[in-house]
């Protein structure tokens, strides 16, 4: 029963901070609320007994991606009060469209019978040992390819960020 309360608490914090990402005027506040969202999502991963994913999520998102966002905001001096706002009509339309997507996603859930399956004695797949075995045997090729992806992303970012000579 306790886990249910923890789930509701984490979900509430995640949704509120996700909404605050959109509502806050300054970009730096959005980044900080986004970090809060990432931490609560890591809590969700821990609830799912996916410890490896929780750690990787914190390292990658709260570590790397948040720093990237913060540095972009700070280096470009973008922390201005949002002077470009969409018109109220456009905001309403966007909210209605997003709400429609939510309704459709929930509506499809109604027509399916999602049974909570799973063998309770075997839910240790999220541990580092078991995930590592799968990753380095079955998914070794994509794992190695992702290193090439990272290399090309790094080269691309440096190339784009370099100042033009002329």
């Amino acid at each position: 029963m306790l886990s249910l309360y923890v789930f509701f608490f984490l979900s509430a914090v995640t949704l509120v901070s996700a909404v605050m990402v959109l509502l806050s005027k300054k970009p730096i506040h959005s980044v900080l609320y986004l970090t809060l969202t990432f931490f609560t999502l890591a809590g969700h991963y821990i609830m799912l007994n996916a410890q490896f994913l929780a750690v990787v999520h914190i390292i990658v998102y709260a570590g790397a991606i948040m720093v990237l966002f913060l540095f972009t905001v700070m280096l470009l001096n973008l922390n201005i009060e949002g002077e470009f706002q969409k018109s109220t009509v456009m905001k309403f339309v966007a909210a209605i469209a997003g709400g429609m997507i939510f309704l459709v996603l929930i509506g499809t859930l109604k027509s399916f019978d999602v049974t909570t399956v799973g063998d309770p004695s075997m839910t240790q797949i999220g541990l580092v040992k078991n995930l590592g075995k799968t990753l380095y045997s079955q998914y070794l090729m994509p794992f190695e390819l992702s290193s090439i992806l990272f290399l090309s992303a790094m080269v691309g970012a440096v190339m784009l960020g370099k100042k033009d000579k002329n």
Binding site: S11, N49, F69, Q85, A94
Partner: protein, 109 residues
């Protein structure tokens, strides 16, 4: 370990689906309603994260490690995407002195 396993069984899978749908919808609203390119990137991150959490939930409930491996790869791709996207944003800012999405309308018509 027994207690964590029992915890997983307590929360119905539907709750995760509803929660992730809500998070995804918030991301969609952010992409549609904002003009700041940085906030749009953040909304895309929200959408990616909601899909990630749902994949992890399904894989944990079905005892299939492939889902969590997929989440790992999505995180890898998301990190590369953010690096490139922010570099592009810097380039755009240098040439137009703004990150307003509406300033980039040259390919519109």
């Amino acid at each position: 370990m027994e207690t964590t396993v029992a915890q997983i069984q307590v929360i119905p899978l539907q709750y995760y689906i509803i929660f992730c749908s809500a998070l995804f919808s918030i991301g969609v609203i952010g992409v549609l309603a904002k003009r700041n390119a940085l906030v749009i990137f953040m909304s895309v991150e929200l959408m990616l994260n909601s899909a990630n959490l749902l994949l992890a939930a399904f894989s944990a409930y079905r005892n299939d490690p492939a889902g969590q491996i997929f989440v790992f790869f999505i995180m890898v791709v998301a990190a590369a995407e953010v690096a490139i996207g922010l570099a592009l944003l810097v380039v755009v800012y240098r040439s137009t002195k703004t990150i307003d999405i509406n300033a980039l309308n040259r390919l519109k018509w």
